[in-house]
């Protein structure tokens, strides 16, 4: 089954990958190790998992603007996510994805966040802001 959702494409790109879904907002500074892409905040639901090569889904970013530099470093270290999907992207994530060429889509409908789960296969067309979940 394929479910298609329309959002807003913020940073262009077309990728296919496996979703990693965080229900909590993400502060790239402090939550993610820029060397490995591992989630290092101990009380995070996805603690010790990696965002490397995943389609990383979270509601929105928070915290220090240094987070943009962390996203950039993830890319340099080849441990960046393939794409990022948000309810609403904040300036930290937007800037981070632009300078790192990571496809970014936001303003996806609420239903998308109900349907998507970690491990789902997704196709992200950030040129058109379209995301497909394959179950």
């Amino acid at each position: 089954m394929v479910m298609e959702f329309k959002g807003r494409g913020l940073v262009e790109g077309y990728v296919e990958g496996i979703a990693l879904v965080s229900k909590e907002p993400i502060s790239f500074l402090g939550d993610i190790d820029p060397g490995t892409g591992t989630i290092i905040r101990k009380n995070h639901e996805l603690y010790s998992l990696t965002i490397k090569n995943k389609v990383f889904v979270f509601p929105y970013g928070k915290g220090s603007t240094v987070g943009s530099y962390i996203i950039y470093r993830l890319r340099k270290n080849n441990v960046a996510p393939k794409a990022i999907l948000n309810i609403r992207s904040d300036p930290v994530v937007i800037v981070g994805c632009v300078i790192s060429d990571i496809p970014l889509v936001d303003m996806l409908p609420e239903k998308f966040f109900k349907e998507i789960g970690s491990g789902d296969k997704v196709i992200v067309d950030a040129y058109k802001g379209i995301v497909r979940i394959l179950k």
């Binding site: 494409g9 913020l10 940073v11 262009e12 820029p34 220090s64 603007t65 240094v66 943009s68 530099y69 962390i70 950039y72 470093r73 340099k76 992207s89 300036p91 930290v92 937007i94 800037v95 981070g96 632009v98 300078i99 936001d106 040129y127």
Partner: protein, 401 residues
């Protein structure tokens, strides 16, 4: 690339890569931000102030980024925030070699970009903005000072966006760049005397906890000095995300505004609320060091300390550390610096303890007059911080009962 805002032909050329990949990325980031947040166009800035340049804060990620973009030059007048140490005293401060070397690489990258090495959180002492000017400033106290005291216009830019704005010389026309967003939403009435930077800072801090991202109009603050206004801005920036506040008898835009006071949400703040915040930190009679200069001291504040210590003919028992910019440092006469040395007062520059690798400094308990300094030192570095009036800080250092 698809975008909705209006761009000039030159801006389009930059976006399409005609000026090289660095300017293209910078422009793309600004256009994406502007589109996401509803800006109709870009606007030229006369001064960018880059925040987030301490290696302590930005680490190898920020270092990589700045080095990559240092191949190209900024296109507007640009200053920058403090470093992790005083460039001349790093050894004495106990800074590890590796930290020093990486911080120097950041400084080198900024210099290649054409950024002025001001290393201060008070860019308004370097170049005071004029009313109506558009700026791209990071550093919350400076943003609040520029908007509220000078009547200039800048959003609270993050570290990376200040770099892009400096490179392109423009920012998205949104937020407090736009007239409609420069109106007060909350009316604050102050029923407390503000007799020192301590109280002005704490007042700002309390206002910030109420208004969060709304714009306050603060009334009944009396005729407070520029140094106290600066402290107020720093406190407000610590607890809120608002870039702008209006200060009665100070903010130049107030006389032209048509205000309907009855439509504003109203809050009163009394002396007890100020004291409650100070008491929560405590006012100890001893410390490992006294920290003054958050935000960086003005010339006048340095001379105020000079007056206080002139009356003692002995060394302070507790070291007093004054932090300022290299610009203001240069203005201070040798005579004053010599007396400071004899009285155990260190006048340092380029840095801020909040962005220094504090664990190497060997201090556990400090005393300051700045709520901003207290907030960040205790939250980021786990240091025990007490709050005192400026004069009381000096008295504690000299162990005067």
């Amino acid at each position: 690339m698809v975008y909705t805002m209006y761009l000039t032909r030159e801006e389009e050329a930059i976006l399409s890569g005609k000026h090289g990949p660095e300017y293209q990325k910078a422009m793309k980031a600004l256009v994406k931000l502007g589109d996401a947040l509803g800006a109709e166009k870009l606007v030229k800035v006369v001064h960018a102030h880059i925040s987030g340049i301490s290696y302590q804060n930005i680490g190898d990620a920020g270092l990589d980024f700045l080095e990559e973009y240092s191949k190209v030059k900024v296109r507007t007048y640009t200053t920058c925030n403090p470093l992790g140490f005083d460039m001349d005293l790093w050894k004495e401060m106990g800074i590890p070699e590796e930290f020093y070397a990486k911080q120097l690489r950041i400084v080198g990258a900024l210099k290649r970009m054409g950024v002025n090495g001001t290393f201060t959180c008070t860019p308004y002492y370097i170049r005071k903005p004029l009313i109506g000017e558009h700026l791209a400033w990071g550093e919350s106290n400076a943003v609040l000072y520029a908007n509220s005291v000078c009547g200039a216009r800048t959003n609270r830019e993050g570290g990376p966006s200040t770099v892009f704005a400096a490179l392109v010389g423009k920012v998205p026309y949104m937020g407090v760049h736009v007239d409609e967003n420069r109106t007060p939403q909350v009316l604050i009435k102050v029923n407390a005397p503000l007799k020192d930077q301590l109280y002005a800072g704490v007042l700002g801090y309390i206002v910030g906890t109420y208004v969060k991202d709304k714009v306050p109009l603060i009334r009944n603050i009396g005729r407070i000095s520029d140094d106290m206004v600066k402290a107020l801005c720093a406190g407000l920036g610590t607890s809120s995300s608002t870039p702008l506040c209006f200060l009665e008898n100070i903010s130049p835009e107030i006389p032209k505004m048509k205000l309907k006071y009855s439509e504003l949400e109203k809050i009163e703040i009394d002396a007890q609320s100020l004291n409650d915040v100070i008491e929560a930190y405590g006012t100890p009679n001893s410390a490992d060091a006294i920290f003054l200069g958050c935000p960086h001291f003005s010339y006048g504040e340095i001379m105020e300390i000079y007056r206080y210590i002139s009356k003692y003919n002995r060394k302070a028992k507790t070291p007093i550390v004054l932090v300022t910019s290299r610009r203001v440092f240069k203005e201070v006469s040798l005579h004053v610096k010599l007396l400071f040395e004899r009285r155990n007062v260190r006048l340092i520059r380029d840095t801020c303890f909040a962005v220094s690798p504090f664990k190497y400094l060997g201090m556990r308990k400090v005393l300051t007059n700045s709520i901003k300094q207290a907030y960040y030192l205790s939250n980021i570095h786990g240091v025990k911080v007490g709050l005192c009036e400026t004069k009381k800080c000096i008295e504690v250092a000299f162990e005067e009962k």
